[in-house]
């Protein structure tokens, strides 16, 4: 197993754990956290491929990771605001009991 493969395996494992959390948790905030973990796994891939790429003088991988982190931050802010608004409306963040989009 080479170095790049080790990083890719680690990020796949992180992605799978985040996916498992997003699919199985009942708390809406923890589902959002699972999605953040999946985004972080993608960032690890960007940096690992950049590091093991042909020329690290090109900084494309680093720039992509920076932009990806910014988009993830915006997503987290809007997602948590939606969860707070949904809680204010239905007084729960339990996803098994939130089963209607219409108020």
């Amino acid at each position: 197993m080479t170095g790049l493969q080790a990083y890719l395996l680690l990020s796949s494992l992180l992605f799978a754990i985040g996916l498992a959390g997003a699919l199985t948790r009942r708390n809406a905030i923890l589902v959002l956290i699972g999605i953040e973990l999946m985004l972080n796994a993608a960032n690890i891939n960007f940096i690992a491929f950049w590091h093991y790429g042909p020329a690290t003088t090109y900084i494309t991988g680093v720039m992509f990771a920076i932009f990806s982190i910014s988009v993830a931050a915006a997503e987290a802010a809007v997602g948590l605001a939606i969860i707070v608004a949904a809680y204010r409306h239905s007084h729960t963040i339990d996803l098994d009991s939130m089963n209607s989009l219409k108020g």
Binding site: L4, I17, A20, T24, E36, I47, A65, A85
Partner: protein
């Protein structure tokens, strides 16, 4: 593959599993910040210092704190301990296991050796100048996106007067 990578990998996987498996949401967020710190250490190890420090500032400093705030604001009076996992948790778990098997098989079966060239660390000056030259349009778009997300988050989470009356 070095010893430090193994230590960081074990730390990341353990704290991620704890973050997705623990019962108390506050404990989940605490272990999640360990995960984010471990990922930042991974970035530092790979020679991307700026991304590692950005990871610490954005994730440990902002996203984890925001998640703690959201948990405290949505703490219902009868308690959050309704049950940790959803009714059809087994299906989700099997899906995740299947996804990991496919990804792991794809990674291990391909000869992705990579080039182990000497890493030239990226200076912050280099990043700044390319943000201002080649990547100026994405930079402006990200600024617009963050502004829109900020305003949108405030508008969505704001308590409206007519709702409370």
């Amino acid at each position: 593959m070095s010893i430090s990578f193994l230590i960081i990998a074990v730390l990341i996987v353990g704290s991620t599993a704890a973050a997705m498996g623990l019962r108390n949401p506050i404990h989940c967020v605490l272990t999640l910040s360990i995960t984010f710190g471990g990922i930042a250490a991974l970035f530092l190890q790979l020679g991307a210092e700026f991304v590692g420090l950005t990871q610490i500032m954005v994730y440990v400093g902002a996203v984890a704190i925001l998640a703690v705030f959201a948990i405290m604001m949505t703490q219902s009076r009868r308690g959050l301990m309704l049950g940790t996992f959803s009714r059809n948790a087994l299906v989700g778990l099997l899906t995740a296991v299947a996804v990991f098997s496919v990804l792991g098989w794809a990674v291990l079966s391909q000869p992705v050796a990579g080039v182990t060239a000497a890493v030239s660390p990226v200076s912050v000056q280099q990043i700044g100048s390319s943000l201002m030259h080649e990547y100026v349009l994405p930079l402006e778009l990200i600024g617009l996106l963050l502004t829109a997300a900020l305003i949108g988050a405030i508008v969505i989470a704001m308590e409206r007067k007519e709702d409370t009356e």
